[in-house]
Symmetry: C2
Subunit: 228 residues, 2 copies
């Protein structure tokens, strides 16, 4: 079967919190907004990628400015964010009609590589889904009331995006009523009884949530350019 490729890039819901100050996805990273890098990775991974950018309506102008900065403007549809991550993704999924591989990605993960995106695509085709994960590097303890105990970190993996699914899995899952236990797209798809398939993510595919993360991302970009 021929699958379309649709990337749903989530860059903020309708909440007012995200609308104060400059949200992280619009901050400057090595000369371009964070979100520019994110969009560029998906546009580079597949020339026929369709991108759905989910963000507050108040940011549509910002987003259009970013798209205008591309030499070849990628195919991007702007969609309004919802009350929660679940609702934002659900809004984005309305753009998915024909059989597709759907990537759901955090707007604030600008360093995702086209290689990882293509690997998630191949895996979703063969296994239905692809959730990138990396090893846990820190020692951890489990807290239970006033008790705590060492746990083996090898039992756990850290989750990244793009969480990638065949549309035939993710579309029916997002018809479920919202549940606060839906912490990511994988938990929604699992609710319908589909196990998700893990793939190796990338250490450099970090989430930018605080100012220091931008500094780290700049260092990672510099490393990458030095290698290229």
């Amino acid at each position: 079967m021929e699958y379309k490729k649709v990337a749903i890039i989530v860059a903020g819901g309708s909440g007012t919190r995200m609308q104060s100050a400059v949200p992280k996805q619009f901050l400057n990273l090595s000369g371009k907004p964070v979100l520019y890098h994110t969009i560029a990775a998906f546009a580079t991974a597949f020339p026929d990628m369709e991108i759905v950018l989910v963000l507050p309506e108040a940011h549509f102008t910002f987003a259009n400015d970013i798209l205008s900065a591309f030499e070849h403007r990628p195919a991007v549809t702007l969609v309004k964010g919802g009350e929660t991550r679940f609702h934002s993704v659900k809004n984005g999924l309305q753009q998915v009609t024909t059989p597709s591989v759907v990537f759901v990605h955090d707007g604030v993960r600008p360093l995702v590589s086209p290689t990882l995106i293509r690997h998630c695509y191949d895996t979703a085709i063969s296994h239905g889904s692809a959730i990138p994960v990396v090893d846990m590097k820190d020692s951890i303890r489990e807290i239970a009331g006033s008790n705590n105990a060492a746990v083996d970190r090898d039992r756990f993996k850290i989750i990244q995006t793009p969480q990638t699914f065949l549309s035939e899995l993710i579309l029916p899952a997002f018809e479920l009523p919202y549940d606060p236990l839906f912490t990511d797209e994988a938990t929604v798809v699992e609710r319908l009884g589909h196990p998700v398939y893990l793939v190796a993510g990338e250490e450099s595919n970090i989430k930018i949530t605080k100012p220091l993360d931008l500094t780290i991302a700049e260092a990672l970009l510099k490393d990458r350019q030095a290698i290229a």
Copy 2:
């Protein structure tokens, strides 16, 4: 009771792995070796701190050079590292005789603050131990064979050092035979039936294990100096 303060700073065992190339604790961080910063934090926290530096004998000359760089050379005893972390700490503990508060710290955590060290001291005095922890920021999944499931990251904390104990707890614990399940000092002390007490660590108290971590540490140091 009057307690001495002893910091056991672990900077490599007897293994050959650590002796190839320049180990992370000797790399340059903002103009000084990583280990200089680590020692300085403990010397600053308490003027009467006794420092036991555990490292391969081949690195004693490096270590002495670092100590000579202090304007006021701190009281530091060099001790040979052992086969594992457990054996290295055990070697260091031979320097602890009178009742003490014992801090066991990773040499490659140079950004620990004197404030955190003093807080660990106070807590060990009142509760017997102090293990600094920070919240987990990433989403995680638990792996069980070919299955995996989302888990609530709020159940877990990330462990840092200095792991801090009254000598009356840590000395008898390190008389136990070595067990590969001893992943840190807390697990050793718990084996004798003493629960450990967690305290709030510091996001900036990172472990330097790869080149990028040095870049991050430099950015954190610059932030700190900008605030000071």
